[in-house]
Amino acid sequence: MFIPMLIFGLICAPILGCLLAGVDRKITARMQGRVGPSILQPYYDFRKLLGKDTGHTNRTESVYIFMYLLFVVIATVLFFLGGNFLLVVFVLTLGVLFFILAAYAPGSPYASIGANREILAVMAYEPMVLLVAAGLYLATGTFDVVAMTQASKPAIIMLPLLFLGFIYVLTIKLRKSPFDLSMSHHAHQELVRGMTTEMNGQTLAMVELAHWYESILYLGWVALFVIWKGWVGLIVALLVAALVYFLEILVDNNFARMKWQFALKSSWWLALILGLLNLGVILLLGLAL
């Protein structure tokens, strides 16, 4: 299983991510009563960016972006190889930190505001993500992704509240409205383009590529809640992941952008209430048993 999963994580994940982004734009357009671009549009954008003449306001920016891409790829591959879930979370966080550094590097006011907001977003979702890791451990008795997929029953039975909380912060992680604070894929024009304001050509192409990896990785996390041993479990998990992404698109199209204060407060309260309540109940039940 090592080689096929390596290929899946390294090559199939970005392809799926690209198609997912295309489907996202198509569904978004349909929801707005438009025809929308082709499903391959993200790929066309990517190819165009690779062919553009690339300029740098600050050369280190492209190094940081490369590190961002590298760590996101490592996290994705580690996840699909069935590695340690905590390690995946931390490697991914490191990648996002490089992205933030890249946004700060050119010293552009727009990119800096985007970077500030991204830090707030990281602060908003990170507690919940760590609680998810803890919850998955309590539910399955392991941090190994491969062992989690072999569980006899889905983790969501033990972690319904944590699952809800995770779906909530997923919107922040995917940078979708109402929490597309640091940058946006839509034609919202405030703050120019947030973090990617100064990035262009190949640098921007790397950012897009990293996003494709990221979105598939997050859907993998969603699937982890639902999966259990055998084919049925896998199929149900994939369906739930697809459903969750559809929900994200729906929310994306129906909410105006919230302020960062709301993003931070609401996600911390949810982490505190849903996350700790869920963990507390498991621990108490575990003690009672």
């Binding site: 734009r25 357009a29 707005q32 009563g33 438009r34 025809v35 929308g36 671009p37 082709s38 549009q41 066309y44 954008d45 190819r47 165009k48 062919g51 553009k52 003449d53 690339t54 300029g55 034609a187 024009q189 120019v192 383009r193 990617t196 304001t197 100064e198 990035m199 262009n200 050509g201 921007l204």
Partner: protein
């Protein structure tokens, strides 16, 4: 390769338009005309844009801005003058405070006349601009490979 022409991102700048042309530019994004069908995105960021849409004529105040946006855009890039004001100065041509069309400030590739310019004319101009974008890209690639050989 046809990759540039499949994802033209634009930036729209209102030089000194009466706003008539700007409304038509924005009308292109609505469900009625839906230019995203062709992969066109209105970016608002010169560094991401391939096509520069200018409405209105240039004057002493904004000529620097127009030039700076143009300089910040990465090659290959195309400039489209939208509306007669942008093409030649239009009804403001003789005014003491206008310099004339956008071509007084930067090289213009496509002229889209009309007062106000129709969304159909803008889409036509962008499609025409795509051909020029392809040519410029090919020229850029050729120059790059020549540089490598040398």
């Amino acid at each position: 390769m046809s990759h540039s022409s499949k994802s033209p991102w634009l930036i729209h700048y209102d030089a000194s338009s009466c706003n008539g042309c700007d409304i038509e530019v924005l009308a292109c994004l609505t469900p009625m005309y839906d230019v995203e069908r062709f992969g066109i995105i209105n970016t608002g960021n010169p560094k991401h844009a391939d096509i520069f849409l200018v409405t209105g004529s240039v004057n002493d105040q904004n000529i620097k801005v127009v030039q700076q946006i143009y300089e910040q855009m990465r090659e290959p890039k195309v400039v489209i003058a939208c509306g007669v004001c942008a093409c030649s100065g239009g009804i403001f041509k003789e005014c003491y405070n206008t310099l004339g069309g956008v071509d007084m400030a930067i090289p213009v590739d496509v002229y889209a006349p009309g007062c106000a310019v129709r969304p159909e004319a803008i889409i036509d101009a962008v499609v025409k601009g795509l051909g020029i974008l392809e040519q410029k890209r090919a020229a850029l690639d050729a120059a790059k490979s020549k540089k490598k050989e040398a």
